[in-house]
Amino acid sequence: MSEKAQSTRPLDASMTLLREVMERPLDPSYAAAAAHPHPRTRRGTALTLALAIAAGAAFSVSVSSIRQPQRESSQANNHLRDEIQKRTEQVEKQAAANAALSAAIEVTQQKALGAGGAELAAQAKRLGLAAGEVPASGPGLRVTLDDAPTAEDAVGGDPRADADFDIGVLFDSDLQIVVNGLWAAGAESIAVNGQRLTAVSAIRSAGRAILVDFRALRRPYVISAIGDPDRMQAGFASGAAGAYVQSMRDNAHIRADIATSDKLVLPGAGQLVLRAAQPLETTGTG
């Protein structure tokens, strides 16, 4: 590169693009139009007006629709929430109808059996109690489990935000261990948050929610078990489940509370329908 070329070229010649942007922000065509004014025609004016109206409308529509997505997503959220509430109400209504129908069935059964069938009715009631079909009451234990205090914020947030294992959050397996411990300690009937456990019950999880018989539970988890309170408490504490709860409390700060109660009332699970299972004929009982 020669000396002459270096002197005539500005130092920042390679940055003309940035200089253009910084130093000449105004569209140069304004200056050009001012230097050579166009004669105004009626058609030109009308076209300008029409284009200006169109541009203005496009501008305001764009601005308002840029703000739309948030509204739409919250709209969808509200819609889903409404749907959940409506469906939950429906389920509750049908459960209530189910309970009323079960009571009616019982009454009708007793009427049909007549005076001679009192023993049969009592037997049906006993069997229903054992199966968990009818409500039960009696003394027992109430175990209350809740997530660690620090885990609350995380649970309230986006369920997909952190997929990693949360130490202070209860899982279905924790509930299963506690329930199994109570059965082992001599519990006769168990309900979790008002969901009676039967021979066909399952404690599962879906996402972060714990399900009992496909019904999602809400914290805190209250496990009510009918049985001899003292014997159950001793059996539970000395068993594997008691040690497990103790370690959850110590290590993960899970809140656990075990209290005896003189009178627990457990709801019935309603009529159990077995479609495939048949009683074995050779046993002779039916």
């Binding site: 109206i53 541009a55 840029i66």
Partner: protein, 110 residues
């Protein structure tokens, strides 16, 4: 002047009618709005400089919007939509700020 009046009428009409924008146009709107703002500030500065021209204003407004949308479209198809959008926003932002500074000098003499 006719362009400014027309723009105002259009803005009000758009706000009142609230038509829905087709989904395929949605990604281009933010950049188009910034480009339109650039044209508006440029027009305002030209007005204060005394060289405002309806035709230039409208043409610059529309071409700004179309070019901005085109850049985003191209970027989306090349897989660098976000980066190109950022570049456009930076350039237009600088222009808007310089024009706003010129307008400020005109109005406040400072």
């Amino acid at each position: 002047m006719i362009a400014a009046i027309g723009l105002l009428v259009g803005v009000i009409a758009g706000l009142l009618l609230q038509p829905t924008v087709p989904l395929w146009l949605q990604p281009y709107l933010p950049i188009a709005v910034v480009a339109a703002l650039d044209a508006v500030f440029g027009g305002l500065r030209a007005l204060l400089d005394g060289i405002f021209d309806d035709r230039v204003f409208i043409v610059s407004f529309l071409s700004n919007v179309v070019v901005a949308a085109l850049i985003v479209f191209l970027g989306d198809h090349l897989g660098v939509g976000a980066q190109l959008s950022t570049g456009v926003v930076v350039v237009l932002g600088i222009r808007i700020f310089s024009n706003a500074a010129a307008i400020r000098r005109h109005i406040f003499k400072a």
